[in-house]
Symmetry: C2
Subunit: 229 residues, 2 copies
DNA sequence: TTTAATTAATCAAACGTTTGTATTATATCA
DNA sequence: TGATATAATACAAACGTTTGATTAATTAAA
């Protein structure tokens, strides 16, 4: 499925993408099914037909996003990979994931902090999978993630930082788009940033240093001052 | 105002606090005025009477939160303060701000990523104030925040990390509360974390090292590899 | 000091609109 | 002809807001 039909991609895909674009901008609860249907160019009834309801779209978006996000982190290496190389793979993979799935990723991170009853079960499963992965990874760096202070800082640390950038970038490009829709005279203030491969090469480099070096340095200092374990 | 009256705090304050508690849990758009009024123990009409509408409550919450957040950062020192000391003050102040205003702070950070038309003007003002402050602060550390790569990483970096922890803590304590409401036999799995002064002393220490040391190290490495400016 | 006028606070009820979903009917294609 | 896909419409529930009446508190005039 999801292929062309009558010169258009299939309706299910159109609903998915229209909903994602709206959710990421205003949030799940602020968007109505009529708005989604209009944007996707389908009848309202199609949403319940394909997704079983409004929340079905969100579920699909989030399951897709988490699957990719988890894979990006799990495939960064294993215990036989040197820690610094593993961290570099990790950062590079997560950045890649965000570049390829910006909308879904932002929805995922922004929905994670909300209490949405229909998602309770899924969220618990994701949380478990994620913390198992992190525990194992940090152990290799010599960081005891079961220490509440370390856990409080490093749980979601990397993803949070990268998410921050892509949210910032999303906002930037949204404003640029609305500004371009105005009269041309107002364009002069718009500094154009090229978010290309070169940009992300430097970005990943900087982040790896900030992350890996910072973790090693900070946790060692902590051990020296407050004693081991 | 906001004092005791008939043994209860005044209705405006009750609405404010009830709304904040609901907003932080499910998000602004998912909460209705009836739910707020019920939780606050007032009549629905009181919301429009005191706040001019549902969005008026959110505005008040956010303006209050930003004011305190900005002050926490602006009062960390000036150009005559040694950088490392200034960073320590900054981290300590922001952590203090979050400890004293957890609910408002989380609402502020979570609402910042949403397009809420009524808030457009306010958000632009806040963004300007914040970036002026950061530009000046990073300059003292030798970091050129106008470089898009540096800006992409360090804009909202510190606040994002700390927000992450308090969101994590909020989630933890929410789940604990609901678990305690269950039968006693299920309590055994609940590891109790004391988020006291000692905890945050270590937390601030670790964050300062992660932050300050990481920034200096990463930006220097970046300059060496990709050249200055 | 009592009475009258004014303001502030609260309430139940209803406003018109929009919400997500369900039903039913009609095309489209095998 | 039977299954799949699309559409128009209906529906109860919930939405944010407004209304007009009522009470309590305050101020002004007598």
């Amino acid at each position: 499925m999801a292929t062309k039909n009558n010169g258009q991609i299939d309706p299910k895909r159109r609903i998915f993408e229209a909903a994602a674009a709206l959710f990421v901008n205003k949030g799940y609860s602020a968007i109505g099914v009529r708005e989604i249907a209009k944007e996707a160019g389908v009848n309202i009834a199609m949403i319940n037909y394909y997704f079983g309801g409004k929340s079905g779209i969100l579920k699909d978006i989030l399951e897709d996003a988490f699957g990719k996000y988890y894979h990006a982190q799990a495939s960064a290496g294993d215990n036989s990979t040197p820690p610094e190389e593993r961290v570099r793979n990790l950062v590079a993979n997560v950045v890649q994931f965000f570049r390829e799935n910006t909308t879904e990723a932002l929805i995922f991170f922004n929905s994670a902090v909300l209490d949405i009853p229909e998602l309770k079960g899924l969220k618990e499963k994701w949380s478990k999978m994620y913390s198992d992965l992190m525990l194992e990874l940090f152990l290799q760096m010599g960081v005891e993630l079961k220490d509440p202070v370390h856990a409080s800082i490093y749980n979601g640390f990397l993803g949070g930082m990268i998410k921050n950038h892509f949210q910032y970038r999303y906002e930037l490009e949204k404003n640029k788009k609305t500004a371009e829709a105005c009269v041309e005279g107002d364009k002069k203030e718009l500094k154009h940033i090229e978010f290309d491969d070169l940009f992300y090469q430097r970005y990943v480099d900087l982040l790896v240093h900030q992350y890996f070096h910072g973790v090693i340095y900070a946790t060692q200092k902590d051990k020296m001052k407050y004693g081991p374990k």
